[in-house]
Amino acid sequence: MKIEANDITMIYPSGKKALQDITLQAETPNFIGILGPNGAGKTTLMKLLIAGLVPTKGKILLDGKPLLSQEKKFKSKLGYLAQSFGLYDELNVWQFLDYMAALKGIKNKNKAIDSVLEQTNMAERKKVRIHNLSGGQRQRVGIAQALLGNPELIILDEPTVGLDPEERVKFRNIFSEMAQNKIILLSTHIVEDVQAVCNRVLVIYNGSILFDGTPSDLILQTKGHVGIYVSQLGDNVPEGCEVVSKVNIAGGIQCRIVADKLPSFAKNTDPTLEDAYLYCIKREGEKE
């Protein structure tokens, strides 16, 4: 499978420009992490890629043909988890997945449902009414429906929200395994997840792609721009620096910063993906 977005711009009827001149391509196998601050356009991009929106300008192609002309075929290959979604509270877990399997037109439904229930650790709760599930369990049901039928393209918008750390790790590993033979697009705020499993990362800011490449390339770009120093309570952040993290230590507060030019008192250190992402956003923000 190959999905392409060529020079797409999305302007909502309210006049808000959500995306501008976005171009990207993804072929199987691919596990793409999409990073960006709130309102950057991640969800809009995902909606465009699931044919939930039509771009104001540009084209989205599936295997070289316009996506909207093969919507039915495309949807049969798609697994999608929205950032916020609803479930039918009157159904139990199994019934809901059966419902979604019918929507997807999955032939061997029972096997497919059992498989995703195992994957999402919901097998024991398959007879529980959705109404009685916790937030995390509902999220797992959401993930399970996205994985149903082993779709070729999986688009996940903040899939691990509400999950405990252990489950989060488990899921990202599941996604990683699945990405061997499909395209997975993962939108998240948790940079660590992207760093752990994605072979490619997109950084979106203000409707534009700031970076499209491997995580290591993004990290590489940031080399020499990440430093640490120890500050005291009440000290100001040095000008031109963005604090990535603060950790209380014996001598004060250890601050991790990114900057175009590190202050002299900061000790240069190896960047992480989070540092790289923040540096990328900071740099773009300064341009504006």
Partner: protein
């Protein structure tokens, strides 16, 4: 394939909804209201009370409940965000279709449950009048389709507006239309609260069911058309209504389906065959404008009834062997019929049908060629329709395999007549007993194909009235009068158990003793007492003929002696008309004088003798007084100067109301006052006897009897009888 898969899971999903179960339970309870507060049919027959009313209540309330559920359920998908996931993997239109199909299925299940739930009670109450086919037919003619229509409209309104409050508002407007005065007496406009004027217990009620099916079909097509249209409006790609519709138009077949369904609904409505498109009010026709009638030497009618289609085909031959004068003839034929051929002396004759519709008939204009004699043959066929001015309260043109009722131009063309022999052959289902022009037909030929052809020779010029039903007939003597008594077979036990025959004899004895012998005495001519379907409404009497309103023999009536004034005694009333109407003493109709008043008074006297003064006071005197008091309080009655300023339509309605009270309540009360003033009942009986003897039409010199004649006979003035 995917649709059926979706349909199945939607069914299961909905089946788990407590809201749906609540709606279904309320729908099952709704018919209960039909037994009391929500009596929607005008009918007082048992099938009206125990079938029509509960079914209509269930239909209307259920339809609203289903609409509420449909809108709420559609909105819920959007509100809860389940559509975020589902729309990403399936077409919202297919999902909408699957949901609608599932809802329709649940409405079918609810209809079945509802029909089964009330079955034992209905069967128990209706006893021998209960028919399982008719009972179930009502549920599936009215309840199920109306629920379908309601669900489709509700879904359509939601998908078009995508706003719950707007969808509810649009649905409410549509409901209002169905309940508005525009739709009040219109079978076709009342989509939500179907109009059932009346049913019959003893005779088939196919006509109301036929209309019911037809109107449901009209509205189903309109609702389905709207629903298909709404599919085009389903929001996609987060676009607004206009842009979604514009995108939806790419699926041209949906637009074509929508337009086809809507157009079919409108066409069905416009071309409905049940009621003509004539004026709403009766039109006084000026027959002096018609060409003179050319008398035929004889007329031969040949009619074939098709009970399955509810249609009739006829061939009428007018013999003009001795006429060569030619000339235009304007003939009236029922508006439902189409003339297929007109020939004269073996040659085709051109004719015109201007398409006018007045009082239930249309004109057929033809010109007989001058200097040529021969036989004029008119062939016609079709589904007899009813006059709009009579509609909807009387079903007097009806053909089905167990009941036929045809009147005037619905039998054959009128206006053409003969002084010579008039023969008629009528082919119809073999089980039916026919009555033509208020007389039984006796001769028939069995066609051995499930039909019989009945023949008769009538002295009258053209055919006026034709009834045929699965009658039980009896003949007996009431005094000197030979009575032919025909009633529905379902009432056979009732007639026997309640000694109805003796009651008839009693009435004849009373009237003969108090007023004199009836015209039927001395074996001159018999009297046909015929029970007619309740759908024909009211009672009617004419020379040698008296018809009974059907409920006279119903269990409700006969088991409740307190209910006589409006039902049981109708048959007494109609029989009394044999004295106070044609061929008895016939009154000249005036504002406060008519045959009806005399007949009501005599009925009261008979009832008083049979059931006692208390009963007669309660159901006659008090009722008359109440009606008169109501009329006296009526503003426009007290102020004729304002009455004159009312629009014609309202004046006509009030006139009709006043006429009814004047004749059926004020006049008998005035006769009662006269009775008191002349010295009591015996004196009044003597006066009435004198009036009858001297003025009945048996005496060829007598004129129509006026109010002044009555006052003179009583030696009273109008002022003496004035009622405060």
């Amino acid at each position: 394939m995917k649709f059926f898969s979706l349909y199945r899971v939607e069914l299961r999903r909905l089946a788990l909804s407590k809201f749906l179960w609540g709606i279904m339970i309320l729908c099952l309870c709704a018919p209960l209201l039909g037994y009391s507060v929500f009596a929607m049919s005008y009918s007082e027959v048992m099938s009206g009370k125990y079938i029509a009313n509960p079914v209509l209540a269930g239909t209307t309330i259920g339809a609203i409940l289903w609409a509420v559920f449909t809108i709420a359920e559609s909105d819920r998908q959007h509100r809860m965000g389940t559509d975020v996931l589902s729309d990403a993997i399936a077409s919202p239109a297919i999902l909408c279709a699957a949901r609608a199909a599932a809802l329709l299925s649940f409405s079918v299940i609810t209809t079945i449950l509802s029909s089964l739930l009330y079955l034992p009670y209905t069967a128990d109450k209706m006893e021998y009048l209960f028919s399982i086919g008719f009972y179930m037919g009502n549920f599936f003619t009215f309840m199920m389709p109306t629920w379908f229509i309601s669900i489709l409209f509700a879904e359509a309104f939601y998908q078009i507006t995508r706003r719950i409050e707007l969808a509810v508002m649009l649905y409410a407007v549509l409901c209002y239309f169905s309940f508005s005065r525009f739709a009040k007496d219109d079978y076709f406009s009342r989509w939500l609260n179907p109009l059932i004027v009346t049913y019959s217990d003893g005779f088939p009620s196919i006509w109301p069911l036929r209309v019911g099916i037809y109107t449901r079909a009209i509205w189903f097509l309109l609702a389905a058309g709207s629903w298909f249209f709404a599919l085009l409006c389903i929001r996609k790609y987060q676009k607004n209504l206009v842009l979604s519709f514009a995108r939806g138009l790419k699926k041209l077949y949906i637009l074509i389906l929508s337009a086809t369904f809507l157009a079919a609904g409108v066409l069905l409505w416009i071309n409905q065959p049940f009621v003509d498109h004539g004026p709403e009010e009766y039109v006084e026709q000026d027959f002096s404008q018609y060409p003179d009638i050319i008398m035929a030497d004889s007329i031969d009618y040949s009619l074939i009834v098709n009970p399955v289609e509810g249609s009739l085909s006829g061939k009428v031959k007018y013999d003009y062997s001795h006429y060569t004068g030619g000339g235009e003839q304007k003939i009236q034929l029922n508006t439902g019929y189409k003339v297929t051929s007109v020939t004269y002396a073996g040659e085709k004759l051109t004719y015109k049908m201007p398409g006018d519709a007045v009082n239930g008939s249309q004109s057929l204009v033809l010109i007989l060629p001058k200097g040529k004699s021969g036989v004029l043959t008119i062939e016609y066929e079709g589904f007899p329709s009813m006059a709009r001015f009579m509609y909807p309260f009387m079903v007097y043109q009806s053909i089905d395999k167990e009941y036929i009722s045809l009147n005037d131009a619905a039998i054959a063309p009128v206006n053409m007549t003969t002084t010579g022999p008039c023969t008629a052959r009528i082919t119809m289902p073999e089980n039916l007993i026919p009555f033509l022009d208020y007389e039984p037909m006796h001769n028939f030929v069995d066609n051995h194909d499930g039909t019989k052809t009945w023949t008769t020779k009538s002295a009258s010029g053209y055919l006026m009235t034709f009834y045929a039903a699965d009658y039980k007939t009896e003949s007996f003597l009431a005094g000197d009068v030979k009575i032919d008594f025909a009633y529905g077979k379902k009432y056979e036990d009732t007639v026997r158990n309640n000694n109805v025959q003796q009651a008839i004899i009693d009435v004849f004895d009373y009237c003969t003793k108090h007023y004199g012998k009836s015209q039927y005495a001395n074996g001159k001519k018999g009297l046909l007492l015929q029970q007619i379907s309740a759908m024909a409404m009211g009672g009617h009497a004419t020379e040698g003929y008296c018809e009974w309103f059907e409920t006279v023999l119903s269990p409700d009536t006969l088991n409740d002696p307190q209910k006589g004034a409006n039902n049981t005694e109708v048959f007494i009333h109609e029989m009394v008309h044999q004295w106070w109407r044609s061929y008895g003493l016939e009154c000249k109709e005036e504002e406060l004088w008519s045959n009806e008043g005399l007949t009501v008074y005599s009925t009261y006297r008979i009832v008083k003798e049979k059931y006692g003064a208390l009963y007669a006071k309660k159901y006659y005197l008090d009722k008359w007084q109440e009606d008169v008091d109501t009329q006296n309080r009526e503003f426009y009655y007290r102020h004729p100067e304002y009455f004159k300023k009312l629009p014609k339509k309202y004046r006509a309605r009030l006139n009709q109301q006043n006429e009814s009270i004047n004749w059926y309540s004020r006049m008998p009360l005035m006769i009662k006052r006269a009775e008191e003033l002349v010295g009591g009942e015996e004196k009044m009986d003597a006066i009435l006897q004198g009036m009858y003897k001297e003025n009945s039409l048996q005496n060829p010199n007598s004129d129509l009897f006026t109010f002044q004649d009555f006052l003179n006979a009583c030696n009273l003035t109008k002022e003496d009888l004035y009622l405060e």
